[in-house]
Every structure is written in C-alpha cells, then in structure tokens.
C-alpha cells in the first residue's frame, strides 16, 4: 500500500483513473463489480430528444469546497432535462443551522448537502423528506445505506464515505504495525519519542479515539434487529468500556495521547518527522505528504487488543427539503437518477477525491488509488456515526470525560459518571 503521493494524487493519477474508467478496465485483483451495468452505454448527459423549456429551477446548497466538484453533475442535469440548477456554496459551519432555520420559512433550497449524522436533528426539525431510492438502493455500500436510513426510510442520497485510518510515514517506518504496542515500539526503535499522533483538544475528541474503544468491545450503542443503533442499549457502559478507560489513562500518563495535541500540532509533528503514525482522515492525506515530500501508506488502525479497531464512518450526501414542494419531483429525479448513477459518482470522485458511496464507483476509485483503497479497507469494518439528535450532548460528555481520563482522572470514576450523564441525556 506504499505509494509515492506526488504521482498518485497528481494530475496523472486523475487522467489515469479516468482512462481506467473509460476503458472499462477492472482492477488487477480481478474483483468484479457486484452490480450489472446494462444501462452504462447511454450517456446521462445527452440532451433529451424532445426537450422543451422547463419552468422549474433547482437550488442546491453545498459545502463551499464542493461547489466545483458538483458543477459537472448539475450541468449534465440541465443539459439532459432542461431544468436549471443553481449551486450555492455555503460555509460548512453554517449550512446545517441555516437550513434548519430557513427551510420552515420557505426560503431554503430544494436540496442540501450534508453529513449523515444530521439526519436525526433534521427529521426532528421536520425539514427533510424521505427519498425512494428504488432499485438503485442495492448499488450502494451497506454502510452508506445504513447511515442514510432513519426510522426505516432513506433520507439522504449518499455520495461519499469517509473514515479515519492510520497514515504512516513510510520513509521512517517501512512496514505496517501489527498492534498498538507494536506501533509505539516500531516508532521508538526508529528513534521517535512520541511516534503516534492523534488529534485531541481540551474538550477531548471521542471520534478520533473511537477505534480503540471498539477494540475493547465497547461500541457506543448496541443494535436493534434491523441493524440501526439502539440508544437504550448503551454498550459503552459494559466491562469493555471500563477496560478502555483504564487503557486510555495509561496512554495519557505515557504521553502517547495528549489533549494538548490539536489537529494543527499533529500535522506539524508528522510533517517534521517527529511522529510517524497519524490517526486521521482522508482529508489530511495531502497535508501528510507535505506536497509530495513524504511517502505515506494507509494502514489498518493498530489495535490495542486482539479485536479489530474499527472507526466511525461518516457518509456525505444530499437531503431533500421537506418544505419546498414546487420542484420536489425534479429534485428527486436529480438525486436518484443522476447523483446516484455510477457515471456521476465516478465524476464526483475524480473532482473531489473522496470514496464514492456507490459500490461500483468505489471499486473503480479504489483500483485507481492505493490511498483510497487503503481507507476503503479500513472502512470495511466501520459503523456509521450515530445520528440521534441527542448525540450533540453525548459527544460533549464523552469528549470531556476522555480528556479528564487522559489528564489523570480516575478512569473508573470518570467513566461511571460519563455513563450516567449519557444515560440522562438520552432519557434512559
């Protein structure tokens, strides 16, 4: 999985990957894409033969950094359906709050881009409408569908799946670590005092520590029969949770995990070569290579136990405004039949370099980039982040408690209080 980033993520790679796509080459490991592609021959963007002027106009709010990535898809839609699409770039910090406030006033967009863990809050505020994916549902990865589902219905057209993994400085450590202790040892053998970095903060960061927690068999919630999270079954409070807390206390004392280490500092340590393992997401790959100066590899997350350390998966996608009915049919058509198509998902991948949610497109992407393949492999075990509206409170308590343990708090006491706090926040 070692790869020289300069060439892999450069223009060459994009051209190469699109050539791969165009020529229909499958990856050399011979994996067949699971869904048949009988409709691949027709170009979605071809203008409709009997096109007529259409009155409606779609408005889409997207993360300002994704505006360019989505443009080809919207232009394609306008070309073939005759429906104008206006793409509005919104700051990632404001997009959710703005949508929740504006949708009920009738001033929201038809479609809004967001993360899957908003679904609880958005349905509670009654601002999003369910989407029938129909038979296209089968083409998406199981994680993506699970993440997009709320109370038995699908609310989001999934577009990208993200999860964290360990980015390893392959120049310093040529081989992947087999376990957490092995990782520390490998690093220290290479002369690094603190070889592992993971982003934390004064209020903790449970998202980035979650893989270790799952390794102690203490996922946040148990599941109901249909695979959804069951908030009444707080698995964190099990014996494994306390073992994890104890382990966390030891790591804090040893200084391997430090609440003072922000994302910026982690980046700095990794770029300077003072740390060789960085537990972070695909969004930091370009930073990690320091513009191609560092060879990196994507590893499975080294587990502190003999169980798999599985991170949370975050799924990005598009929601349908429940309060904007004038264009809802066009909006659904755009989501299900365009954004959900392999052609567009592949285009989105090429423009945005994120792992597509559609399995066929994801496999193509993984075949074209070892970095993407690395993250996909780690993500195979990932569970979607819980989307309950109460999660905001849960994250707060969770982070603060972990930070306290890392800074020398009694693991057992702090964890006990955490479980009590979370239970009360969830109304258990």
């Amino acid at each position: 999985m070692k790869v020289k980033m300069k060439s892999a993520l450069g223009v060459g790679a994009v051209v190469a990957s699109s050539l791969l796509v165009l020529s229909g080459c499958s990856s050399d490991n011979g994996a067949e894409s699971p869904s048949p592609e009988p409709t691949q021959a027709t170009d979605l963007c071809a203008p409709d033969a009997n096109a007529e002027p259409v009155d409606g106009k779609l408005t889409i709010w997207v993360d300002v950094e994704r505006v360019e990535a989505i443009k080809p898809a919207t232009e394609c839609y306008t070309k073939s359906r005759g429906v104008e699409v206006e793409v509005v770039g919104k700051s990632n910090d404001d997009i959710r709050a703005d949508f929740i406030q504006q949708s009920p006033q009738g001033t929201g967009p038809d479609i809004v881009m967001g993360a899957h863990d908003w679904v609880g809050e958005l349905t509670k505020a009654a601002v999003i409408a369910p989407i029938e994916l129909g038979d296209t549902k089968a083409g998406f990865s199981e994680t993506a569908i699970k993440a997009s589902t709320w109370d038995g219905q699908i609310y989001m057209l999934p577009y990208a799946v993200e999860n964290i993994a360990v980015i390893r400085n392959a120049d310093i450590i040529p081989e992947a670590a087999t376990s957490y202790d092995d990782m520390i040892k490998k690093g220290q053998d290479a002369g690094l005092e603190k070889p592992f970095v993971v982003q934390q903060g004064t209020a903790g960061d449970p998202y980035h520590l979650y893989p270790f927690q799952t390794a102690f068999d203490a996922p946040v919630f148990g599941s109901t029969e249909d695979g959804a999270y069951n908030p009444a079954d707080l698995k964190m409070g099990s014996e494994g949770g306390f073992k994890f807390a104890e382990w966390l206390g030891k790591q804090g004392a040893a200084g391997h995990i430090n609440t003072d280490l922000s994302g910026d500092i982690a980046l700095e340590q990794f770029q300077k070569g003072e740390a060789a393992f960085w537990l972070t997401g695909p969004w930091n790959v370009n930073n990690a290579t320091n513009g191609g100066a560092i060879n990196v590899a994507i590893d499975l997350i080294p587990s502190p136990t003999d169980k798999v350390a599985a991170p949370f998966a975050g799924v990005k996608g598009f929601y349908l405004n429940a309060n904007e009915s004038a264009n809802r049919l066009a909006a659904t058509d755009f989501l299900v039949n365009y954004l959900g198509s392999e052609q567009v998902q592949t285009e989105l991948y090429e423009a945005g370099n994120v792992l597509p949610a559609l399995t066929a497109a994801a496999d193509k992407a993984a075949a074209s980039s070892e970095i993407i393949a690395g993250f996909q492999k780690v993500g195979a075990e990932a569970q979607p982040m819980p989307a309950l509206p109460e999660m905001a409170a849960v994250w707060d308590f969770w982070g603060v408690a972990e930070a306290e343990i890392l800074n020398g708090g009694n693991p057992k006491d702090v964890w006990t209080k955490l479980i009590a706090d979370i239970n009360s926040a969830l109304g258990n």
């Binding site: 007529e52 949708s103 349905t123 369910p130 129909g134 707060d396």
Partner: protein, 597 residues
C-alpha cells in the same frame, strides 16, 4: 447653511403665542430660502423620488410574498417620510426622521422581536417548533408516507386522458431477496395454518387488483395496468411494449419528461395516486421522480375537522396538545411528529430561575460575567493610567517608540490575538510553557480557576492600550496650576494623584469606563476564540464552561447542538436589563462627579 438659525427660529415661535402666526410664516419663508433653493429642491425631489421608487418596489415584492404587516409598515413609513420632507411645518422632524427610522429598524424592532421570541418555544429542542402548524402537519404526514414492505418498484409512464393524469404501469417481477409482504400466518381452531386474506397480496409475485366486478384478482408480472388519479388500475392488453415495459397505449397521451417537470406539483407523491384494490390500506401507486412508481401508503392521516391525527395501523388518535405538538391520550407523540411555534408566555424566564439544570450554571455564569467585566475594566484602566502617568513624566525618553509598542495590541484584530494567545497557552506545546518556562506544564486554559485568570490576562493585554490613550488625553487636560497649588500646599505625589488628579480624570473618563464595562460584559470574541467557554462545567443537559460569560452561553443555547431560541432570547433580555440598569445607575453617579467642577 442657515439651518441653525432657522431651527432657533422654529423653537422660538412656539414660545411666543401672540405673534405665532406671523412668525411662523416668516420662519417658513426663511426655511424655504435657507434650505430649499431651486437646486436643493431638485436634489430633494430626486432623493425622495428614489426613496419612493424603492418603497414601491418593496411594497410590490412584499405584496407578491403576502407579507402584509411589513408591507403596511413600509407604506406608512414612506407616507410619513414624504409628508415630513414636503411639509413646511415639520422642520425638527426633518432632522430627526432618518435617525428615528434607523433606530426603529435596528434597535427597537430587534428588541421587540427578541422579546417576542423569548415568549415562544422557537427551536429544535424537544417541545420546540421551527415553523407554523400547517407546515408541521404536512411534515408529519410526509414522514409517515411509507412504501408498502416487500413491494417492487413499478416502471411507469405518466399519461393524460381528457385532462386526467394517470399511470401506465407494468407489473414487475417480484423482489427476489425480500420476503413476501408481512404475511400473517394464523393457526385456526383445527390446527391448520391459514394466511390472513388481505395479506395474500403479492405473496406470489405480480399484483392484486380489483376487477370491474369488484373481485380481487391476481395479475402476473408483465401485465400492463392503466389507471387515473384517485381511481383503480385496469388491465389493458393493447399497450406498446418495449423491453418488457409498456411505453404507450392507445387513447392516452404519454407525458414527456419536460411535461412531467412542468406539472410536477400535480404528479409527485402524494398528489397523483392510483389504487390497486378497493382496500385503501393496501397502498396506492405513486411516484417521486416521474419514472418509477412505488406502492406507498400514509400511516398518519390528518383530519382537519377534528384537528386530530390518526395512525391508521394502530388506531391511536393524536390531538393538539396546546403546546405546539400533537400528542395521544397516553402522552405519546406520533412518529416524526413535528412541532410548531406557539406562545409559552413567560415559561422561558420562569425556567431560567426554577429549572435546576439551568439555574446553577446561569448563576455561576452571571457572577463570573460581572467579575470578568469589572476586573477587565479595572485592570486595563489602572495599567493604562499608570503607563500614561509614566509617559507624562518629562524625564521619560524616546516616548515616540514606546508609544508605538504600547498601541500595538490595540491595532491587531482582537479575535486574531485571542487565537494566538490560545495557542501560546497550550499546556504542552504552547510557547509560554514550552519555551518561556522551559517545559513546565501549567494548565493555563484547562484548569477552571487558572483559565479565568488567563482570560483576564489576555483581556488586559488587549484592553490596556485603549485606556492608555484615553488617560493620556485626559491627563493633559488637567490644568497644571491645580497640581502646582497642591504641591505648594505640601501635598505628597500620592495624595495629589488620589485626591486631585484621579477625581478630575474620572469626570472625563467615567462614561468611557461604563461603556467599556458594557462592552466587556458582552465580550463574545475573546471568550469564543480563547477558551470557547471551557473547561466544561460538565452539567448534564446544559453545555456550559467555567469561563463562559452570559453572551457566549446564549450563543451555545441558541446555536450549538440542539437550539433553543426561546430560552436564548430570554437570556438576552435578562442581559439587556442587567447592562441597562448598571449603565443607568453608573451614569447617574457620574453626574454627581461632574459637579466637582
């Protein structure tokens, strides 16, 4: 130019009654000559014309959006402004009007609106609402339109006949993986298993439809169905079939995609629905994208007459609770039951005092806000004053350069400085601990007490240049002879400062200290950027930290996680009352100071 004299003129004529009429006319003529020459008149007409044009545009737009109240306000304001500027008897108003209008828009309206929000349940918290009731009902229904389990997707064409929209659908192959529709198998009294009748639908693939004789018949996959909105499907056998799907049929017009798009509000689920059988609960064929049909049914039905919602599966009836949501007799809310905005009176205010979760943190935050604001003003003022006195000393050399250095913190944007300080105070990696203190681990921002000290220190750094500048100016305005006289009388320097300079200084500076107090009381930038309120108090259900001041807490209540705009607005009003009261009292005291002179 002559406005000053005409204004006096205008005020004089109100006092002298017997010459009132004559003087008034005179004043009007003077005003005319002074302020409304032909040039100014043209400019005035153009400006008022522009204003009126804008107002008319606004009124038409508001009319289109049916915003009657705002439209009325714009109309009335415009009429009043026109009257003021074209009348000859409204001279003082001409000067006051723009200010008053802006005061109303930006101050009074905001206040009134905040008060209004504080008496509602506006927000996304449980029991809150984001829109009106009609919207909430629609959203709840939308949430509960579900695909009938186990049914396949139907390839469809939207068709029209005599103005009626309908579907031309082809019965698809059954879904392979999914089990047949929730078939209830019941064991009868003889011990034989029987299948409950209404659930045999789709158990063997194909579809069940009611034929023209009223019998439910099963049709195999590949059968072509035609039906119109609100009616039942009929089997037809003369449709044109391509790739196993019906694409057109005689007697009906198939809508193109563009036509579908132009009529989407009539077509999209749940508008266009064609039923299979007499039994409504079995679901109807609807479409979300105009190309595929799904068998869907509404689980929650709203009855406008009784204003209740009914779950058709369980029969549970939900009624309006009066608190902005529907609720059943047993206290359950419907699945996906959206709330709407209602008035809750003074609940939010009462909550802030009586709710234990809120009361404790609110009290702690309020005390800290006062301490923070007071100490911020005091420390910055005395440091600034001290430096100003030092700078006044004639023995001080190279003042120019020192002064530039002193002003620097004031010249940086405060949020930037706060961010830099936050990084410098990082316990392990920060510049202060790591480089200055040689690796000490002082928890500047993570220990509850020390974090407060750090906040005050950073604010001191940010704030003293302002006080320094003010004090320099004020000290220069104190006449030297007063100080000299005191020296002659034998007063020591400390006594001169305490008894003479300071009181004289306070006369000029006190109002600024009060405004500085009000500013620091709401110093959101500093807290948000430096600590974000942390370290957390760890209060269950209420996300506040030890360095949170009232305004940063309001921000968290309103915008972080679950939002509760009503409560946040109530807090804002409380802050307004506090700051207002403190300012009024303090300004009264300064009046007393002024009498020193």
């Amino acid at each position: 130019m002559g406005s000053g004299s005409t204004q006096e003129e205008a005020s004089v004529n109100t006092q002298i009654d017997n010459k009132k009429l004559r003087r008034q006319r005179q004043a009007a003529i003077i005003a005319e000559q002074a302020s409304a020459g032909s040039k100014t008149l043209i400019i005035k007409i153009i400006l008022i014309g522009l204003l009126d044009a804008l107002a008319i545009y606004a009124i038409l737009t508001l009319w289109a959006y049916e915003q009657w109240i705002i439209m009325g306000a714009v109309l009335v304001t415009t009429l009043i402004l026109n009257w003021i500027y074209f009348s000859k008897r409204t001279l003082p108003s001409k000067y006051l009007a723009p200010g008053v209008v802006f005061l109303i828009i930006f101050q009074v309206f905001t206040m009134v609106y905040t008060v209004y929000i504080s008496t509602t349940n506006y927000g996304t918290h449980t029991g809150g609402g984001m829109g009106d009731k009609e919207r909430a009902i629609q959203a709840t229904q939308l949430y509960n339109v579900k695909r009938v389990e186990g049914t396949p997707m139907y390839p469809i064409k939207v068709v029209e006949k005599d103005g009626n929209l309908g579907f031309l659908a082809t019965v698809p192959e059954p879904v392979n993986s999914a089990p047949p529709a929730s078939t209830d198998v019941v064991v009868d009294e003889n011990g034989d298993e029987i299948v409950v009748e209404e659930d045999i639908q789709l158990s063997s693939g194909g579809a069940i439809i009611t034929d023209e004789f009223g019998n439910d018949i099963e049709v195999p996959p590949g059968t072509v169905l035609l039906g119109f909105n609100g009616e039942r499907f009929k089997v037809i056998d003369d449709a044109e079939i391509v790739d196993g799907r019906a694409v057109s049929a005689p007697g009906v017009e198939v809508l193109t995609m563009a036509e579908i798009m132009n009529r989407q509000t009539e077509i999209r689920e749940p508008q266009l629905a064609v039923m299979f059988t007499e039994d409504v609960t079995g679901g109807a064929l609807t479409t979300q994208d105009g190309q595929q049909g799904r068998v869907s049914r509404s689980i929650i039905v709203y009855d406008a007459e009784t204003d209740t919602m009914t779950n058709v599966d369980t029969g549970v009836v939900y009624h309006d609770s009066g608190h902005g949501y529907f609720v059943s007799d047993s206290g359950e809310r419907p699945n996906g039951g959206a709330g709407w905005i209602v008035s809750v009176g003074f609940d939010n205010y009462v909550q802030s005092v009586t709710n234990e979760v809120i009361r404790g943190p609110l009290l702690a935050v309020t005390i800290w806000t006062f301490v923070f604001a007071f100490l911020s003003v005091a420390t910055t003022f005395f440091l600034g004053l001290f430096l100003a006195i030092v700078f006044q000393d004639p023995r001080m050399k190279s003042k120019k350069y020192y002064r530039v250095v002193m002003i620097l913190p004031y010249a940086f944007p405060s949020f930037l400085s706060a961010l830099v300080w936050a990084n410098m105070m990082n316990t392990t990696y920060g510049f202060i601990n790591d480089s200055l203190l040689g690796g000490l681990a002082i928890p500047w921002l993570t220990d509850p007490t020390l974090a407060k000290v750090s906040v005050l220190l950073v604010n001191l750094w940010l704030g003293f240049p302002y006080m320094f500048l003010i004090c320099m100016g004020a000290l220069q305005s104190i006449p030297d002879d007063v100080v000299e006289a005191a020296t002659v009388d034998g007063a020591k320097p400390w006594a001169i400062f305490r008894l003479i300079k300071l009181p004289l200084l306070l006369v000029t500076v006190a109002p600024l200290l009060i405004s500085s107090f009000a500013f620091n009381f709401n110093n959101f930038n500093l807290i948000y950027m430096l600590t974000d309120g942390g370290p957390s108090m760890g209060v269950s259900g209420f996300n506040v930290g030890h360095t949170d001041i009232l305004i940063s807490m309001v921000y968290k209540v309103a915008f972080v996680g679950t939002s509760n705009f009503g409560l946040a607005a109530a807090f804002s009003i409380l802050i307004f009352i506090v700051v207002g009261t403190v300012s009024v009292i303090a300004l009264r005291k300064t009046k007393a100071l002024e009498e020193l002179n």
